[in-house]
């Protein structure tokens, strides 16, 4: 990125000064290295976001930011409905409420290793993954509406998990104000067979162990010690979320014209929060969020059953489930006053600090768990939200490593079987529904997640709690 236009605020914060159509400045959380690697489109897209009506304080980019759809991936922005604030399709993303959940198994790596091959066979049989995979759950239109209204609560009512898990899911597993009548029939038809499926792309189920603890107090609250085994699941709202995005791109496109909001990029279409179109989209997004929460809950339970078939004594306790593609109504302090804001996080994880009322009782003193997926060959992280993160970026943190190489380039460089064999040599089992997918997701096609997490920690957006190393992965 060309740093010429940027003003350095601190070692990890850069400002895009307010100029032209911008209503607020832009802020990029990065050190010199990450900023140099970051594409110029991030600055351009942040400038566009900073020009939207009703934006408060600034348009922000997390350390893993890259070129996205309307918003940069890693983009965060809050809008005030009382000041003409808008809701934007680009700020939520296509895979609404894509996120990560992580479970602790209550056993050490050494105890798992002799059973790992058997476990992965069982998990691969149990978790539908890849193109055209369908789950065992087939829903009628009215039953799907129940999913969209009730989220993870629906899944638990159907026997996929237990009620005590709800406390450890964002929004207690169900966001209010979801209105299935605001979701198209096409979106619902696409989703009827997809509840409880992993999908493909960068989605995964990963068996990991804790290699290092950075913060003993937080790790203890999250129930983790070194060498503990965890299972993480990265997935979203599947076809339903994408179809909601596609449908509302048209609807908000027309609305932007109607309300005379200049649109600088086709996927940055938006409508005033207080307009009928904006209100409808928010209700549809809530359906997408509930769909994703239900989907991850079902997947988590299927994984639990598979794990306990192989290792009957294993626990499978949910540490937390949190999304990184959402728009949420939240209260934040601005200039000494609490204001109700619509916070968009596109490829950015909600990261509330200690004391926040949304947090489960067990985590109230340490902050919210945040899961940062790296690559299947390197590492992932557990972080915790901080008070400074709430001040800096509405309680938001990074969400992953971000690609350094396109999928086509990865496909030219690696073969799926080669990636599987190379990981095997490192002691990591990869079960892939598609060899093409395995090649595209090769670890070296991603940036170094460690740099992203170091900057997130140093900037104060969140703090490091634990380093996770992969043992085995399922990819769609």
């Amino acid at each position: 990125m060309d740093k010429g236009k940027l003003k350095r605020i601190s070692s990890c914060i850069w400002e895009i000064p307010q100029e032209g159509t911008m209503r607020v400045p832009g802020y990029i959380f990065a050190n010199n290295d990450l900023l140099t690697e970051m594409d110029d489109k991030v600055m351009q897209q942040l400038t566009n976001v900073a020009s939207l009506p009703g934006i408060v304080k600034g348009a922000m980019a997390m350390p893993d930011a890259h070129w996205g759809y309307g918003f940069p991936i890693g983009g965060v922005a809050a809008f005030d409905p009382d000041q003409g604030g808008v809701i934007s399709v680009g700020g939520v993303g296509y895979d609404i409420s894509c996120g990560v959940r992580c479970h602790r198994l209550g056993l050490k790596r050494q105890r798992l290793l002799p059973k790992l091959d058997e476990l992965m066979d069982e998990l691969f049989r149990s978790i539908p993954a890849g193109v055209g995979s369908t789950g065992k759950i087939k829903l009628s239109a009215s039953k799907l509406d129940d999913v969209l209204r009730n989220g993870a609560l629906w899944a638990i009512d159907k026997g996929y998990g237990t009620k005590d898990e709800l406390e450890y899911i964002e929004e207690r597993g169900r966001i209010k104000d979801a209105d299935p009548s605001k979701v198209s029939k096409l979106a619902k038809d696409r989703q009827k067979k997809q509840i409880g499926t992993l999908g493909s792309g960068n989605h995964y189920l990963e068996v990991q162990y804790v290699e290092k603890i950075y913060d003993k107090e937080c790790a203890s609250a999250f129930g983790l010690e070194e060498d503990d085994v965890v299972v993480s699941i990265h997935c979203g709202s599947r076809a339903l979320g994408h179809q909601i995005g596609t449908d509302y791109l048209q609807i908000l496109g027309a609305a932007a014209k109607k309300y005379a909001i200049p649109i600088r990029e086709r996927e940055l279409v938006c409508a005033p929060i207080k307009s009928p179109e904006g209100s409808d989209y928010m209700k549809a997004v809530a359906c997408g969020i509930n769909c994703a929460l239900a989907n991850r809950q079902v997947l988590g339970h299927l994984a639990r059953l598979a794990v306990q078939r192989v290792i009957p004594s294993a626990e499978f306790e949910l540490i937390y489930d949190v999304s990184h593609n959402t728009c949420k109504v939240e209260k934040h302090e601005v200039g000494g006053k609490m204001r109700k804001l619509f916070v968009h996080r596109k490829g950015a994880t909600r990261a509330f600090g200690p004391g926040h009322r949304e947090l489960p009782k067990k985590y109230k003193h340490v902050g919210q768990p945040i899961f940062i997926g790296g690559t299947m060959g390197t590492c992932s992280y557990i972080l915790a939200g901080t008070e400074s993160g709430e001040e800096l970026a509405w309680g938001s943190a990074c969400h992953g490593a971000g690609r350094s190489m396109s999928r086509r380039a990865a496909l030219k460089r690696w073969k799926g079987k080669g990636v599987i064999n190379a990981l095997r040599k490192q002691g990591i089992i990869l079960k892939a529904a598609s060899l093409r997918g395995a090649a595209e997701e090769a670890p070296d096609a991603y940036k170094d997640v460690r740099k992203v997490v170091e900057v997130t920690h140093e900037a104060g957006l969140a703090k490091k709690v634990a380093l996770l190393k992969p043992l085995a992965v399922i990819k769609g």
Binding site: H66, G68, Y94, R266, E267, L435, R436
Partner: protein, 147 residues
């Protein structure tokens, strides 16, 4: 005709780079042919060998938009939705375009893991790098798809 380099290409399809996802491009001597080839580029992502997808079943696709770029994105999105709902892969396409309205046929068969080595799931078409244009005597229709 399948994937070819852009140079001297009059008809065919290819994919192109995007940092996180992937671009699809159809090229043809007519607008319709570019749309049909764009669809082949799409399904080349979902299955390793498109030639193994037999045109056994025929499905109608109708869509419209307010410009040609929007129409191409709508066409690709319609095919993705159809593939999802019908659990099918498509390999043969024919479209007619009247102003900004498309009527088309897609032919293919149900996904069968024994026959089709599956590629990657495509969730939807986007407006990123999307364009439909007549350039150097050929039509090009393209967009980035979210995978």
């Amino acid at each position: 005709m399948g994937q070819k380099e852009m140079a001297n290409l009059k008809s065919g399809w290819e994919t192109f780079d995007h940092i996180a996802d992937i671009g699809i491009r159809g090229i043809g001597t007519t607008l319709e042919e570019a749309f049909e080839n764009g669809a082949r580029a799409l399904f080349s992502l979902m299955v390793e060998d498109l030639s193994l997808v037999r045109p056994v079943h025929k499905k109608e696709v109708n869509c419209s938009s307010y410009d040609l770029t929007g129409l191409f994105v709508a066409w690709i999105n319609s095919l993705i939705a159809l593939a999802d709902i019908e659990q099918m892969l498509f390999s043969s396409f024919s479209v007619t375009i009247d102003d900004h309205t498309l009527s088309g046929l897609a032919q293919g068969e149900r996904w069968t893991r024994a026959i089709h080595q599956l590629g990657i799931e495509v969730k939807g078409a986007t407006f990123t790098e999307a364009k439909v244009e007549f350039q150097d005597g050929v039509w090009i229709a393209q967009c980035v798809v979210d995978v």
